[in-house]
Every structure is written in C-alpha cells, then in structure tokens.
C-alpha cells in the first residue's frame, strides 16, 4: 500500500478541518462510538488490512452524511496483531473502557469465539462480518458473512455439473476447515456425488507433494479446497508445477478472500472457481460507485475488494440504518430494528437480516478466475443462511448465546 506519512498528515488534517463543524455540534462526549478489532499485522493481515480500509470508509461516509441522529460517529480501531489474547483484551477495552455502542470484530472463528462471550457479558452489540462455517446462535451477535449453505451449497453442484461427480477435499486443520469439509461432504452426497478422500493440513505446511501424489492416485473429477493462510497458497503453485491444473480443476471456498489470486501467476490460477457473496464484477450501480470512490480514496494501488472487505463496509452501514430506524444507538432498540428484517442495499446487492438466526440473506456469486480476475459466471439472489436455520431459532427462544457447530455437524444434530 502506498501511503506516505506526508499524505497521511495532509489527508487527516484536511479531514479534521472539514469535520470541525460536526464536532462543534456534537459537543464532545455526545459521540456515538463504533469499535473495530481486526488483525492489521501478523499472519492474518492479508484479510484484516482491506477490512480496516472499508470500515474507515464506512464511518467517513456516515459522518459526511451528517452523522447519525445528528451525532458524530467515532471509530476506535484496534489491531489484534493476529493474536487471540489481544482480541479479548481489546474487546474488554472497547466495551468497558470506550463504552462502544457496537463492536465489529474478528476474522478467524477462533477470534470470534474469544470475544463473543465478553461482549455478551457487557451487553455490547457485536457484528462479525466474515464468511465462516455457520452455527452461531446468539441474540447479541449479528453474523453478516456468508455461510456454507449460501456458498458451498452453490459451488459444489456447479462444479459437479461442469466437471464430474468424484470429489477430493483438501482443507485447513482447524474448526473452519473441519466443519466446512463436513458441509462439502454433505453437499456432494446430496447432489449424487462421491467424496474420494478428505485431507487436513496444519496452517504452516508448505510442501504438498505427497498430497498431489495421492490426488493423482485417486483421480477425482475435481479438487475442492478450504485451505487457509499464506503458507497454504503454495498448494496452488505446486499443483500447477506438477501440471495438475491442466488435468484436474480446483474449486475453493477460501481462495480469493485473502486476494490469493494476485499472489500467484495467471497461469497457475486460471480456471479456479470460487463462490462468495461478493466479487468486484457484481453488476449494480452501487458497486460501480463504491469502487470508484474507493479508488479516489486510496489511489490505483487500492486493495482488490472481496467479500470480507465489502461486508465490513456493509455491516457498518447496516448497523447505521438500524440506529436511524431505532432513533437511538442503545443496544436493545437497535437489535430490535435489525431483527425487523432490515435491509441495506450495498455493493454486493441487498443484505437483509434474518430474525431467526441473526444472520443475513444475501446475493451469492460464482466466480471463474482468469488472468488474476474473477469473472462472475452465475449469481443467486437473496440466499438464506439455511445451515444455521436448521438448528437455531432466536424468534422462539431469544435467550441464546452459543456456537452450535463447535463440535461438528453430527453433534449439532445434522446428519
């Protein structure tokens, strides 16, 4: 990211000047506090850095439009440094110290589970704006990211129609990968296919040779991957180096959210398909306008937008709509406003809160990678979080704060 201290000072002082009248009207302590905790350094910053940029943009947009209820919104942004312990610490700081009206935080499922109980205890409204494995059933928590029933359920049949019925699964060895692999197996079976093998990899594995041999032995029609993090990008390289990308194609549920497509060469990545609730090619005027404003803000070297970054923006905006509707930033009326089926029309299309699960209905797209860019080949409107809906009903029983898929799908009563 090209961002010199000089331009930062110039930019921020201009901002300070332009926002001076608002501060005057808001009279200091009257601000609405919006806290965000993300990994801006360490191994997970490939995900966190773009999310922080769009969060800042959302808060600036809200303030440029006169703030909320005539009050300025102040962003408190914390860097958790890819360390879980900082999440707990900053969540406490945001809730008890800053008295934040809402906290938008967490990237990995582990970080979410570290802070969710803290924020519930302090009765602080929590937004988790990341795609994840589904299963959070918590009245105080809004999960705006996509879940397997929205994305995996689309990409599996699409790939099976295109390439064939025999599937080989490779996934990261922690709760996201394990649970997502269970969803993949379920969707493969539902669509009349066969899972040949499932393999899990610790996050620091960089040599995928033995696996590539096993894939060649198993001869699947395609490979589906839920690999996570920087080290796992080597899988795609080594797969291409062995000439496999020409023979057995890859679908993925994770490739792209860290902008992995820009980390490997075009020949290595061409033909990979993935499914998310946002790609830059999403065809709507809001998206065009969003991308051009982002470019004006950050220059041509801006990060490529993906679901995590765009949903961070939309999550903040969804919260702002709820505050407007409720007429107060206090937690209970805002939750009520969100659960009334509130919709925000963002760059990804309409995002609507589902009161049964506190998740969102959203558009889902399938992208085909070509020359390091995703081309949208299929889109599905207003997809519900059907996985979490199977096990969670906050309308019937609002007094819940659990993560139902913690011990896998079977333990949650899903066959």
């Amino acid at each position: 990211m090209t961002f010199s201290r000089r331009s930062f000072l110039a930019g921020s002082s201009a901002l300070a000047l332009s926002s001076a009248p608002i501060i005057g009207r808001a009279q200091g302590s009257d601000k609405i506090i919006f806290a965000s905790i993300l990994d801006l350094s360490g191994g997970l910053d490939i995900y966190g850095a773009p999310m922080a940029e769009t969060t800042k943009m959302a808060i600036d947009d809200i303030n440029a439009a006169g703030g909320l209820l005539g009050r300025e919104v102040e962003l408190k942004l914390y860097d958790a440094q890819s360390t879980i312990q900082f999440y707990t610490q900053y969540a406490t700081q945001a809730a008890a110290g800053d008295r934040a009206h809402t906290v938008h935080a967490g990237i990995t499922s582990a970080s979410r589970e570290a802070i969710r109980p803290t924020l519930a205890r302090f009765k602080t409204l929590y937004f988790y704006n990341t795609q994840y494995e589904g299963g959070v059933c918590d009245f105080n928590t809004f999960c705006t990211g996509s879940t397997p029933a929205q994305t995996v359920a689309k990409v599996v049949p699409y790939a099976m129609n295109k390439w064939g019925k025999k599937v080989y699964i490779v996934a990261a060895d922690y709760n996201y990968g394990q649970i997502t692999a269970q969803w993949m197996q379920r969707f493969v079976k539902e669509n009349g296919g066969e899972t040949l093998d499932v393999e899990f990899f610790p996050l620091d594995v960089t040599n995928f040779g033995p696996t590539i041999n096993k894939i060649q032995t198993a001869k699947p029609d395609f490979v589906i991957s839920a690999l996570v993090g920087g080290a796992h990008v080597s899988f795609y390289r080594q797969y291409a180096a062995a000439g496999m990308n020409k023979e057995i194609p890859i679908a993925s549920t994770t490739f792209g959210v860290g902008n992995e497509q820009t980390l490997i060469s075009a020949e290595e990545g061409d033909g990979i398909i993935a499914s998310y609730s946002y790609f830059e090619g999403a065809d709507n005027p809001t998206n065009t306008e969003f991308l051009s404003r982002l470019e004006a803000r950050l220059g041509a070297g801006r990060p490529v937008m993906n679901e995590l970054a765009v949903r961070s923006y939309e999550g903040a905006m969804l919260w702002a709509e709820a505050v407007k509707l409720a007429g107060t930033p206090d937690r209970d009326p805002v939750i009520e406003a969100l659960r009334s089926g509130l919709t925000y029309n963002g760059p990804s299309g309409a995002v609507t809160v589902d009161a049964q699960t506190n998740h969102c209905n959203m558009n889902v797209y399938i992208g085909d990678l070509k020359d390091q860019k995703w081309n949208i080949v299929e889109s599905y409107e207003a997809q519900p979080p059907a996985d979490t809906q199977l096990v969670c009903d906050l309308v019937a029983n609002p007094d819940q704060s659990t993560f139902l898929f913690e011990n896998g799908l079977a333990a949650a009563g899903i066959e």
Partner: protein
C-alpha cells in the same frame, strides 16, 4: 509401479527439501555454535531477492543462483560484524539477539513490501511424467542442486585452505589464533557463507512456496530439529537427519495425511534425541565432516 516411483520421487524431494533448508543453519549453528533464530528470515530474504530481481527483469536463474546467495551473504557479514561477533561463546545471548534480529527483519520486510506479496515467479521448468503420474521438473532440479550443494560444501571444508582454517578455528580458536590465523576474519567469512547458503535455499524455494514476510516461521523449527538430530558433524549430520526425519515425514504424510506426517517427524526427533542426546553423528560417522 508408476506409483512407487512417483512416491519415491516425492520422498527424495521431501528429504532434499529438509537438507536444503537446514544446511545454512548447520554451518552457523552446528559449526559456529551460534543459535541463529533468524535463520528462517535469511531464507525469506533469499526469496524476496529473487522476487524483486525477477520483477526488475533479471533472468530467474541468475536471481536464484547468484543474486540470492550474494545479497543474503552480504547481509550475513553485516549482521556478524554488528551483532554476532560480540557474542561468540555465549549461546543463550546469541539466541536472544538473533530472535530480536528475526523480528526486526520481518518488520522491515513487511513495511517495505506489505503483508502479502505477489510472487509471480513460477517454477521455470516443465512437467516430468512418470507413467500415469506427473511431477514438477523443478522439484527434480531442486533434488539435484541440493546434492551439488552438499558436495561443494564438503569439498570446501575438506580440500581448501579456507575449509581447513575454518574447521581449526571452530575447534580451538585460541590455538588457531596463536598459529597466526585471523580468527575474527574466519568467523566473519564462515557466518557469511552460512547466510549465503540459506539465501540460496530461500531463493530456490521461492517459486515453489511463494514469499511472505512471515514465511521463515514455517522453516525454522524443522531446520533446528534436523540439525540437532544430525549432531555435530555438519554434513553427515544434516544428511542423516534429513534422510531419517524427511523419510518419516514423507511416508506418514502419504499414508495418513500431513498432520500425522508432522507429528511423526516430531515424535521421531524426540525419540532419537532421547536415545542419542548428541544426535546421530554423536554416535555414528563420528569422524566425518
């Protein structure tokens, strides 16, 4: 039959991979007794040298085989002059100092290149076919170059004057010094060579694994385990350690998956060090280099 050959090929690749990432550490830690926790970052710097050089239009072979060891070797010499030379004989202090160095290098590289780096260097060789199976030609090249590298380190230590002086200095610095050897210079050169070998390894691996500021962390533990399991003879030790641990890792990865492969490697190292606390070459091949 094809499968056997393909698996065997992968096994040899895993072994040579381990030897490649460990050799630089074997020189710096095994020979000089400097616990270099920045070893992973030397590999990482080699990788970045290749990425930067190829992006600037330099031929990939030149970047990997010449620039990567050269740049990291020079960095090694600077580090030795500024940091390490004050700490010889103080192993715990070298541990702390190089840990700090490792954090510093990761920080510097992150602030220059950002947290994720586009590595558009692809392995520059085509595909090798083994019947129904295919493997990367570049992996074959890496196996060969590891053998060449081990052999040339052996030649240098065994037959050159520098090798003799280096071995003498590491065995007894005072005696070497009283015989007129500038031990300070020998230390500097040896450390620089160790860093250069690490840089070369990092550069060679960049097309296979990509580069990230934090990629060193994925190598450092394995490199230390290999060198410590190998024992005091750096070449025979590194080779024996790589064959044993890499073999076990490769076989278990193929049978039971990567997670068990890693577990088997660590378990084997623990059992080995319980039975042979001075490493493999503490008991066998004692007279070797």
């Amino acid at each position: 039959m094809d499968l056997v050959i393909a698996v065997l090929f992968q096994l040899i690749y895993v072994i040579s991979n381990l030897a490649l990432i460990s050799l630089g550490l074997a020189i710096i830690f095994g020979m000089m007794r400097v616990i270099n926790l920045a070893h992973g970052e030397f590999l990482m710097l080699g990788g970045y040298t290749v990425v930067v050089a190829t992006n600037a239009g330099i031929n990939i072979w030149v970047s990997m085989l010449i620039l990567a060891p050269l740049v990291v070797g020079i960095i090694g010499v600077i580090v030795e002059r500024l940091l390490i030379r004050w700490l010889y004989g103080r192993m715990v202090d070298t541990l702390l100092a190089t840990w700090g160095l490792s954090l510093l290098l990761v920080g510097i590289v992150t602030s220059i290149f950002g947290a994720s780096t586009g590595t558009t260097v692809s392995p520059p060789l085509g595909v090798v076919r083994i019947g129904d199976y295919s493997a990367s030609g570049y992996e074959l090249f890496l196996i060969l170059i590891t053998i060449v590298l081990l052999f040339s380190v052996w030649l240098t230590l065994r037959f050159t004057k520098l090798g003799l002086l280096a071995r003498g200095t590491m065995q007894n610095a005072e005696m070497a010094s009283s015989l007129g050897v500038s031990t300070s210079r020998i230390y500097m050169i040896t450390f620089g060579l160790g860093a250069a070998v690490s840089g070369l390894a990092g550069g060679l691996l960049a097309p296979m694994t990509g580069v990230l500021p934090t990629i060193g962390a994925t190598y450092i533990a394995k490199a230390f385990i290999t060198v410590i399991s190998g024992g005091s003879a750096i070449l025979a030790g590194t080779t024996a350690g790589s064959v044993l641990l890499g073999g076990i890792n490769g076989i278990f990865s193929f049978i039971a998956g990567s997670t068990f492969g890693e577990i088997a490697l660590l378990l084997a190292a623990i059992v080995l060090l319980r039975l042979m606390p001075r490493g493999i070459t503490g008991r066998f091949f004692r007279k070797s280099l």
